[in-house]
Amino acid sequence: MTGELPVLLGLLLVAAAGTGAVLVRDPVRQSFVLSLLGLSLATLFLLLQAPDVALSQLAVGSALTPLMVLLSVRKVRRKARSERREERE
């Protein structure tokens, strides 16, 4: 049983992070939870001795996904703000 403990912990982390990523609605906060989900998944993969997949997950999840989400949010908010300004004028 004690041998299964790390894998169990990894599964719990992934379940918690995954649920969080679904429940959080604000994209900026979601980008944090998504990066957390990536880290948890990488941990689970490593615990199951699949380092190749863990590396893929780390590569994509730690910097690339948050960057793309945050850049998209920035573009959308900038556009929304300029439209608000237009309405005011």
Binding site: P51, D52, S56, A59, L64, L67, K75, R78, S82
Partner: protein
């Protein structure tokens, strides 16, 4: 279609998936266990072809065609992004203001950029020996270049990133994969067969075509991710509708 009907269709589909899922789960081998028929065969095949990392052997030798498909998906999605996020007629480019960055952050990024790049290249070239490979390493290499955006600003990144070259490299990586596969046909093997000599086990030149395909994927992924992020960065930092003011520091 009314909302009600849609919900019924959704419920029906969901129910079908649930039933099939449960049925499939009942027949799964239990978690863990000591019998892995596919694993044993894959490891044996990998060792016969002198590839130390079995996963790379599966990806680039035993199931190389699947990897071609995956690579094409990435290629296609990058192409789609380029088309969707292009600069349209009612948008124009504005030079973003230079951003203020703390000197210590700048120093760190200038130090970390080459180190990260080297680690990425290490992961690409040692795909057949240790965990990693073209995809993982390629993403690291692409990320390393974007440290310059973090350290300085977008203009500095644009200066060392000739985008046209990366677009060509993206296509070249994709083409190189197919060409290596086609070269196998010339030597009488099947498409993407491992036709090269296998080399000495656990050295850089082992694994036949695996290192070559790995490198092709590495080039494709690096260039693809750079092009992808370039489009996102352009939209977020530079491109603005004509009525929109670019006041954000890059």
């Amino acid at each position: 279609m009314t909302m009600r009907l849609r919900m019924w269709v959704l419920a029906l589909g969901g129910l079908g998936v649930a039933v099939l899922y449960v049925l499939a789960c009942l027949n799964l081998p239990s978690f863990g266990g000591d019998r892995h028929p596919y694993g044993d065969r894959a490891v044996r095949a990998a060792l016969a072809r002198h590839t130390a990392n079995t996963v790379s052997s599966v990806n680039f030798d035993q199931r190389a065609l699947d990897t071609l498909g995956e690579e094409s998906i990435l290629f296609g999605s990058v192409l789609g992004t380029v088309v969707l996020l292009r600069q349209t007629r009612d948008e124009d480019r504005q030079q973003p203001e230079p951003a203020r960055v703390a000197p210590s952050v700048r120093r760190y990024a200038l130090f970390a950029l080459p180190v990260t790049l080297l680690i990425g290249l290490y992961i690409v070239t040692h795909g057949q020996l240790s965990p990693g490979g073209g995809f993982q390493g390629g993403v690291v290499v692409a990320t390393s270049l974007h440290l310059l955006y973090i350290a300085v600003d977008y203009r500095a990144l644009e200066r060392i990133r000739p985008l046209g070259m990366y677009e060509v490299a993206d296509a070249a990586g994709e083409a190189a994969y197919v060409l290596v596969g086609a070269a196998a046909l010339l030597t009488g093997w099947a498409f993407l067969g491992n036709f090269l000599p296998y080399g000495t086990f656990n050295t850089l030149s082992s694994g036949g075509t695996v290192p070559l395909l790995n490198a092709a994927i590495g080039v494709e992924v690096t260039a693809g991710v750079v092009v992808l992020l370039a489009r996102f960065l352009d939209q977020a930092v530079e491109i603005a509708s004509t009525d929109e003011e670019a006041e954000d520091p890059a």
